[in-house]
Amino acid sequence: MKVFLLSTVREFYRQRAGLFLMVVFILFGFLSSREHYAFAVFFLKDDWGMIALMVAWIAYTLLCVQFLAHQLTQPEYVILQNAFLWPVGKRVIRLLAMALGLILPLILYGIYVFTIARQENLTGNTWPILPYWLLMSVCLMSVAEWRLRNPDISKAAKTTLRLPFRRPANYVFWTLEWLLRERGFTLLLSKVGVFLFMIAALVYDSTGTYDLRLPAVGFTLAYLLNAGLSYELYLWENEVWLWGKSLPFGAITRFGRVAILHAILLLPETFLAISYGTRLEWYELAQLYILGLSTLLLYHVSLYRAPKLLEETLQPVAIGFIILTFAILYKIPIALLALILLIFAFAGWRRWYN
C-alpha cells in the first residue's frame, strides 16, 4: 500500500511540483480573496456554474489519467504490476485511496465551495460535488485497473510522437523538444501565469502616463515567473542529460546555449506585449525584454551554486526582485541594469558551472 501510494500519488505531485507551484502563484498571487469568492458564487448560482466546475475538474482528472497510464508502465515502476495480485476488495480500497490522493486539490476546493454555499445559504446547490468526486475517483480507479490488466510496457514506450523531419543534432532544439514533450503541461501552465501577469502589467500601464520604470517592474515580475521553467532547464542539464557534461564544450558555448534557450522562452509573452497594442516603443520593449532575460539568467546561474529544490530557490528570487525594484525606482537606467545583471550572470557561470 505504502509503496503503491508513494509511487503514484507522491510521484504525481513531485513530478508536477512546478505546475502546482504556478497554480498556487496564480490562485494566491493574482486572484484576490474577493475574486475567489466570486468564482465560488458563480459555480453555485449560475445555471452553467456546476457544469463549468465539472469541465475544469474533468481537465484535471485527464491530467491524472495521463499520468497514471504512463506511470504504471514505466520500467522503474514495473514492480507496481504486483498490485494486480491483491484480492479484489483490498485492491478497490487501495485504488480508491490512490484516486482520492490524486484528486485531493479537487476535494479541498469542493470543501471551500461548501463553506461559501453555507454562508450564502446555497447548500442545496452543492449536490453535484459529491457525485463529481465519486465520478473522478471511479474514473481514476478504472484507468489504474485497466493499466494493471494491460501492462504492455513495450507498447507504451513506443507511442512517442515522431517528428515529420530529421531531428537536427542541436542541443537547443533537443532541449526545447524535451520541454514540450516531457514538461508540456508545466510549460503551458507557466505560460498561462506569465501571460496573466503580463496582461495585468499592460492594463495597469495603460491607466496613465508613466515612465519606463512602472512597466519595468511589472514585466520583470512576469518574466521571472518563468523561474519554474528555468529550473526545468537546469534539471535537464544536470539530471536528464547529465552525460552531456562530459562532452567538449567550453563555458562560453554552454552559457550561450543557456542564454539562447531563455531568450526563446521569453518570446511568447514579449509578442503578447507587442500584440496588445502597448504605448511602449520598440526600444523600450527591447530594454524590458533584456532586463527580464538577464534577471532570469541570473536566477538560472544561481542554481549551479549548490543543488536545491525549486521551493528553496524561490526565496532569493523574491528578495532579489525587491532589490531590483528599488534599483529601478532609483532611476538607474533599465539598459544599464540589464547589462549589470548580465555581467553578474556570466561571472557566476564562470565561477559555479561544473
Binding site: R167, W178, W243, L247, N354
Partner: protein, 211 residues
C-alpha cells in the same frame, strides 16, 4: 604519465565518497575494482567532468580538467554503467551529436555501428532494451580521437558477439595508444586483454592490487 589525480575529494552533502591524495597512471589498460557503492561510478563521472569536485585532474601532463575543460573532455570519453539518455532521442541523433562534438573522423560512426550490430538507429531510446542502450553508450565512448576511455561495467547486458567485438575494439584502440579504465565485477581472464594493472577503490581511495 597519462592521467594524474591530486587531492581529489568528492562528497554528496556531508557524505564523502572519494578522497584520493595522489594517483597516477601511464598508458595501459587498467581494471578498477570495488564493491557495490564503493564509488567507482562517482570516480568515473568525476574524471569525465560530469560532477563538481575538489582537487586536480590532469591528462597527458597538459590538460587540466578545471583549467582546460574543453581540451580535456575532447580526449577523455566515458561509457557509463547504466547510461541514461533523453527517451525521445534515437541512437542516430546521439551518434551525430557526439561525433560532431568529438570531431569524429569520417567513417568512424559507421564502423562502430557495425561493430556493435546497432540495427536500431532510428528507434527512440525509450523503446530500446537495456542492452541496446548499453551498446549505444559504448559506441559513443569510442567516438573521436580519445586519449583515455573509461568504460564503467562495459560487459553488463550486452550479448556475446558485442562482447567479443568490444574486446577487439579495446585492443585496436590500445594499440594506437589509448588508455582504458575498466570496471567490472566479472573477470577479464577470457578476454585476452593485456591488463597493465588493477586498482581497488577502498575506503574512498585507490589501492594498487599489483603491488
Amino acid at each position: 604519465m597519462k592521467l594524474a589525480v591530486k587531492n581529489l575529494r568528492k562528497s554528496y552533502g556531508s557524505h564523502e565518497v572519494l578522497a584520493i591524495p595522489e594517483w597516477e597512471i601511464d598508458e595501459g589498460i587498467y581494471w578498477i575494482q570495488g564493491e557495490n557503492g564503493a564509488g567507482k561510478s562517482t570516480l568515473f563521472r568525476t574524471l569525465a567532468g560530469m560532477l563538481p569536485f575538489e582537487g586536480e585532474v590532469v591528462l597527458d601532463k597538459r590538460f587540466d580538467l578545471k583549467r582546460d575543460p574543453v581540451a580535456y573532455r575532447q580526449r577523455l570519453n566515458l561509457g557509463e554503467a547504466e547510461p541514461l539518455y533523453p527517451t525521445f532521442l534515437t541512437p542516430a541523433d546521439l551518434l551525430a551529436f557526439v561525433a560532431e562534438a568529438k570531431r569524429s573522423p569520417a567513417g568512424q560512426v559507421q564502423n562502430l555501428v557495425e561493430a556493435f550490430g546497432m540495427n536500431y538507429l532510428h528507434q527512440s531510446m525509450g523503446s530500446c532494451s537495456s542492452g541496446m542502450v548499453k551498446k549505444t553508450s559504448l559506441a559513443l565512448a569510442f567516438l573521436g580521437d580519445p586519449s583515455v576511455i573509461i568504460l564503467d561495467e562495459p560487459l553488463i547486458t550486452i550479448d556475446l558477439e558485442a562482447r567479443a567485438n568490444l574486446f577487439t575494439l579495446i585492443k585496436n584502440y590500445h594499440a594506437r595508444g589509448v588508455t582504458f579504465l575498466l570496471s567490472s565485477h566479472q573477470p577479464f581472464e577470457d578476454s585476452d586483454l593485456p591488463l597493465t594493472a588493477a586498482f581497488k577503490l577502498q575506503n574512498r581511495a585507490l589501492v594498487s592490487l599489483s603491488a
